[in-house]
Symmetry: C2
Subunit: 874 residues, 2 copies
């Protein structure tokens, strides 16, 4: 066994594996010449050796530790048991990755019945000294000997009650002395040993406790959840104690090098004179701004500012620093990259680039892509939230944002009330395309069923509308227009607030804070686009969505879902006529009408997108989705179509499917009803011709869904291209267009080589692929998928992050095969995963050309795409 | 260009590619010294050269043909245009594979206005001579010049009408002379040329017509359908005409070397004196048995018998021979392997082995596996069928056999009437597990919906019960107990007959002929088992099915579907209690009762199977399949369970799924309700313990369905093994058992390496794999799959024959990965494809260990398995 203990002078920040994160960091700061209380680190290897050697204490290790303690005594001029220059130390764990659950900290180690008296005399503060000692006994008894904390707390309460004391701060020295006596009794009673008086014995015990805590239950579970190997082990840091509470020339504080909420440059933080670390956070005394130090201790302040700047430059990021001043001497106890708001993150990253501290790539890497969501949606005012009443918090946060309004249970009523000027919130068991009119006017959408990719969730994200789904604690009774939460009932018109970022619903109205998109955001996003190898498009078809999405500079539209255009009443009527009529002339008349609508639809889209690429997917859903459901609707449709209710019912029954997900839909409809796709491509091309006449050249990309056989693509493509040819000849013009297909049934991936011979582009439909690869219905899996996630049977939700082992393998197979026969084929993704950072990393890795996602996720995707490009280039 | 024309003396049977099948065969027979009318063959290469050279006639080819005609004249002593020794020839196409749609035959080529007179004189039969000539003009005009046949037929009818003649046989020489004159006019009028009088000109024209017919529409479609390459071309055979109608020392006949219906050895056939080929088939005169020739022309007969034997030995199979006797001289015109019944096929193959003509392997290769089905099911009496009235013939032949009986529309009524002694036939729109009581008592099952793998089809095949499904012409009204076929209505109790082999339904009762399974069958099947590398198991759980299957010596049971055991009323009640109860003690009580039933179930299965392996699949279907549907049922269950109808409905709604196929079922149920599988394995092990006590050692193979994630298998396996361990300890005994999993969701195939580390065996569930790889719901695809098949978008039904490109790729990936981590893992198939010969060839190829199929398909599978083993070994 080699060297097992490193002084802080011997390490550096690259030694995280051996010294743990905290140890490496303390060594690095020491190396930089910062004033760090002296100390040393016992390596992770020593820990693993101890654990694999049946927890047998190693003589060599003990010798090394003793030697380092001696060195520490020399360096500090203090020593264990010295009456005047008393050495006390802290013992802290520190693994490679920060990991909750392990033993954390023992402070004041080295105190005993004798030295506590010296400390009382030296600091002239007996109360402080006895308090430190009783804390040591309590911490040590708990973490080293496993005595339950509550036993100590109970005894303390007893003493306070007897003495008539309310707060710990009112305890006098003699009170603490009493507590110490009782604690020592408790310790003896529980361990059948006296509390160790020898500092060395205390130290060895603490080190063994840290070693062993690597294998406690919480730590093991955490490692499993986060895929951290079990054989890393933890390091142990032993460091001289310093005290900010040793008089008025002492103090302690916490400071950021830039403002964590706004990103504004300059030191921002708080400190307390004559205080210890936790006092700043505890809120008993009101801390002062760190800037006050400029007057109070100008030299210390100058030193602090310059060292903080040094740290920021060194770590190339805003720092969150803990410091202590002991008798006019400044110590840094910890520094780490500071947490910040999304807004501040952009500002800081951009400023750091402009100050020459980091590169554009490093700036892009600094932003957590998912945080962008927060930036772009309003959120509740934090103070108001703290006092708000939570109705339920088990919903899935389907679409971020915050909104208040009145509850309505059907689309019609929601629309009516919204038109009357009310803020409305739609509550449904689940939504269907027929609810769309109600959804677009709602401030928020809430469902009791469905998952993160349910209809409500997908539509809401598309619109950037706040949405909570699968909120099982809500018992929504649409018929009686009420919702029951446990034993409470809310009715139509009651006011609630919905947090789509967290999945929480509150009673009543809560004020919101608007979203922000400032210069820093714009600058950084422009860099991201510049860097990214992957294009990012948006899934959008309504003018509102498109305009909203265009704010984020997407590289075109990756998915226009034409079926979303079929649900306005006058169109739905024609679509139903087409489906229900037995007469060819009736069907043709219906298609002709829809054709006219569709031409206008596509013209409007082209108008917004100008010459940016637009992928238009031909009709995908099964016919029964267009048919009426309720009695009133049935009667209306029967009348319109000149059918008896029985005839209509028979036709609906005929079209009803046991597994609609695997049924008669997508291109299968076009094989059965070729006129349908012909009508759609006619609209696409005629709209493009009109645009050309007005001087805008669009190049539509026509996408055929659900292809699983080569012949499907061959025939449909032949069919629509012949039709387009006729239209172009008739108009004596030419429109460039391309034809591609979705890869969304597994079989399509296996025959991607055959398909790519005939396709200009592919787009993976990851939702359907995931459904079929797992055999999970998106509509039904809600029943067990949460259970699977909570049990860790599924390590993550494959509808939100790509399943590399299954779906990912199919993607790889398809990409490889496709490029074999058509090296230039453009390949993208237009499923939900197109906006997920982890999935985007995978798509970059396998060499896709673009991803397409909801408009609001475009910036998230752009950032993630840039980050994965950087990671895979370096 | 090399040699383009081969005399029959120059070729042999291995030259099919160059000379076509017919040419190679004629050459082979010539080579064997058989009396074959002389002739020669123009190669397929000559044909392709002609076609690719824009149909330009090649001078070299013409020279070669002329040279061979000269040789033919020398050989026969006859010549074109000779008044006394007139050479007439036939011209026939002959590609490598027999291919309908191409031009077939021109006879009597060489006749013209002059030579027809010589023929009349020489044969002393002017009627015959003129008839031959008019036939030549008609055939030639039609196939060479494309004059529609009906124009000739019309003219002939006109003449017969004028002359008052009914039948062609009543035509006199002068009548035919009149027809010849009219035909020549017609020919001139249509082609603006005279009918060619020069035999050589006739010959060249005929050859060009054969060449061109390679590319006619019907031939092209046929090639596409049968995957025959377009660049093979056809050969042309030119052969001296011989006439069996040249007097009483002449004749013609057709004979088999063994009896085609029974397989009995010995010449079997018919002949006519003084007749031409088609007269034997035409049925105008009654032919005599070939054996009569022994008296009539003993020398000819002896010659025929010995040459027929020679041919049979040469071709190693029963031969179907066409022969002609011209003036006491015997000619063989054609020989080919004879068609035969399934029964005869077995007899002949076994006899040929025992006569030392073929090996056991060759015998096994001679049987078409699918023909075995016919052998094992009764069929309708052929004569009765010919006069029966077809009600509909568009149904799918889901399970072979033939049966008559009275129609019933619900299971209950069917059961009641069957118990009263009636033969019943169950008519349903589709069947569900609740119909099972009616299905088991029915002679046949008919449905108007569903495909070859629908519930009705699968269950019927399992029971060996005749079944027709997806019969769309039937409008079945279950409520009013009637079925409408176009404008005809049948009601309850009406008698029909069902042919499950053909998918036809007849009015009334038709007598049947029983199935046969004789010594020859047993012998050949034993050889097949000996040869096969693949084991064949059966899918079965009822005692009837198991006993029936055991007749075919399967290698155990590959799939016990335990859910089939849950539908008897008393069990269904307990299952419903388990699903619907909110109380743990109620659920436990229900499981305890089911446990007792299941122990008996498994004991009964073990009892039948003794120590043969049995794979038991744990419960697979979603819970809602067990819940009541109709109002009456709902009320009953609500009463039993002490629920209100509303409560029951709410629970049913909760369990209802949008896509049950992709829902909460299989092992997912066990994750949610661990006690379910524990109960089942307890029954499996307790039953095995009882068997062991009675001296039979069974080794159950426990199969977990629908696994898609490693953790599913890990946890369930841990859970059930711990439970089994407890039972074994409690009983102080040991039972060997294994635990495996189905690979039926695509993802399972991708993680087969991880799964195989924990599994003793795998079984591919090809039904579900196919559903998910294509995105086809078996229950819904009926709506478009037939259209896809008829349009050749799907070249075959992937639920009946494995899709090598998609499902097959997954199988290959899984096998490779599985054997990487567990080289000894046993891998099989238990889906429908396990009984399909083409699929079995694939499974042999990729190295599976066994297939498992319905009991009645076991012999089909055994044969197919042996054949694929032979094919892949050689």
């Amino acid at each position: 066994m080699g060297k097992q203990v490193y002084s802080f002078h011997e390490g550096n920040q690259d030694m995280r594996e051996l010294l743990g994160g905290k140890g490496a960091n303390l060594a690095e700061m020491t190396r930089l010449g910062l004033p760090i209380p002296a100390g040393f680190t016992i390596t992770t290897e020593a820990c693993m050796a101890y654990l694999t050697n049946h927890k047998k204490w190693d003589a060599e290790l003990q010798a090394e530790i003793d030697q380092h303690i001696e060195q520490l005594e020399n360096e500090t001029g203090k020593s264990f048991n010295s009456p005047h220059h008393l050495l006390l130390v802290s013992v802290r764990s520190g693994a490679k990755q920060s990991m909750p659950g392990m033993m954390d900290t023992i402070l004041n180690l080295g105190l005993n019945d004798k030295t506590v008296e010296s400390l009382a005399t030296e600091t002239n503060n007996p109360t402080f000294a006895y308090d430190c000692y009783r804390r040591l006994i309590q911490m040590y008894g708990n973490v080293v000997n496993g005595i339950p904390s509550y036993l100590f707390e109970d005894e303390l309460s007893q003493v306070k009650k007897q003495q008539g004391i309310q707060n710990d701060t009112d305890m006098k020295a003699s009170d603490w002395q009493l507590v110490i006596a009782i604690y020592k009794d408790l310790y003896h009673q529980q361990t059948e040993r006296d509390f160790p008086q020898n500092p060395k014995e205390q130290l060895y015990g603490a080190i063994e406790a840290v070693f062993s805590s690597w294998n406690n239950e919480r730590a093991k579970v955490y490692r499993q959840l986060n895929n951290i190997p079990n054989d890393l082990g933890t390091a142990v840091n032993i460091q001289e104690m310093v005290y900010g509470n040793s008089g008025n020339q002492s103090g302690t504080g916490v400071a950021f090098t830039r403002h964590p909420a706004t990103g504004k440059p300059g030191i921002f933080g708080e400190y307390l004179i004559n205080a210890q670390g936790e006092d700043v956070v505890a809120g008993i005394r009101t801390p002062k701004p760190v800037s006050d130090l400029a007057q109070a201790m100008p030299e210390i302040y100058q030193q602090f500012v310059s060292l903080a700047e040094k740290l920021e430059k060194h770590y190339k990021d805003m720092q969150d620093i803990e410091f202590t001043i002991e008798n006019e001497k400044l110590f840094f106890l910890q520094t780490r990259n500071g947490k910040r708001t999304a807004k501040a993150a952009f500002q800081i990253a951009v400023d750091l680039v402009e100050e020459g501290i980091i590169s554009k790539e490093e700036a892009v890497m600094q932003i957590e892509p998912k945080s962008v969501d927060k930036l772009l949606h309003p959120s509740f005012d934090q103070e108001a939230i703290d006092s708000a009443e939570i109705l339920t918090n088990v919903g899935l946060p389907a679409s971020p944002g915050a909104a208040s309004g009145r509850i309505y249970f059907d689309a019609e009523m929601a629309k009516e009330r919204a038109e009357a000027g009310e803020k409305v919130i739609l509550f449904r068991q689940e939504t269907s395309p027929e609810d769309i009119n109600g959804m677009v006017v709602s401030e928020a959408i809430v469902t009791s069923r469905g998952g993160m990719t349910s209809h409500a969730a997908v539509v809401a994200r598309g619109m950037g509308c706040c949405c909570v789904v699968g909120c099982q604690e809500l018992d929504i009774d649409e018929k009686n227009k009420q919702v029951t939460i446990f034993d409470e009932v809310l009715i139509e018109g009651d006011e609630v607030s919905v947090d789509g970022t967290k999945g929480v619903i509150y009673r009543g109205k809560i004020p919101t804070v608007p979203s922000t998109s400032d210069d820093a955001f714009q600058k950084l996003m422009a860099w991201a686009k510049e860097i990214s190898r992957l294009d990012v498009r948006m899934n959008a078809e309504t003018i509102n969505d498109i305009r909203m999405g265009l704010n984020f500079n997407p590289d075109g539209i990756g998915l226009v879902r034409t079926e979303h255009m079929f649900f306005a009443p006058e169109r739905l009527r024609e679509m139903r006529r087409f489906i229900l009529s037995q007469h060819a002339y009736d069907q043709k008349a219906a298609l002709d009408k829809i054709l006219r609508y569709q031409i206008e639809d596509f013209k409007a889209i082209y108008q917004e997108m100008q010459s940016h690429p637009v992928v238009i997917r031909l009709l995908d859903p099964p016919f029964h989705e267009f048919l009426p459901a309720g009695n009133r609707d049935m009667q209306m449709v029967a009348n319109q179509m000149n059918l008896t209710i029985n005839q209509l019912q028979a036709r609906i029954e005929e079209l009803t499917e046991v597994n609609p997900m695997l049924g008669h839909r997508g291109c299968r409809l076009a094989i059965s009803y070729p006129d349908l796709y012909k009508m759609q491509v006619e609209a696409i091309i005629r709209a493009a011709i009109k645009m050309k006449q007005s001087g805008v050249r669009v190049k539509p990309e026509i996408m055929i869904p659900l292809v699983g056989m080569k012949e499907e693509l061959t025939r449909i493509k032949e069919d629509i291209m012949a039709h387009i040819e006729n239209i172009l000849i008739e108009n004596k013009t030419y429109i460039a267009y391309s034809v591609g297909t979705m890869l969304e049934v597994p079989r399509a991936c296996f025959i991607a080589d055959e398909l790519s011979e005939q396709a200009d582009f592919f787009s993976f439909g990851t939702n359907d692929l995931t459904q079929m690869v797992y055999g999970f219905s998106r509509d039904d899996a809600g029943k067990f998928i949460n259970h699977y996630l909570s049990q860790n049977i599924l390590p993550f939700d494959p509808f939100q992050t790509i399943d590399r082992d299954g779906v990912g393998e199919l993607v790889k197979i398809a990409v490889k095969k496709a490029r074999q026969t058509n090296p230039n084929i453009k390949i993208g993704v237009c499923g939900e995963l197109g906006g997920d950072p982890d999935s985007i990393a995978f798509f970059t890795e396998v060499g896709l050309d673009y991803v397409s996602c909801s408009p609001f996720r475009v910036p998230v995707a752009q950032l993630a795409a840039a980050q994965s490009t950087i990671q895979q280039t370096t």
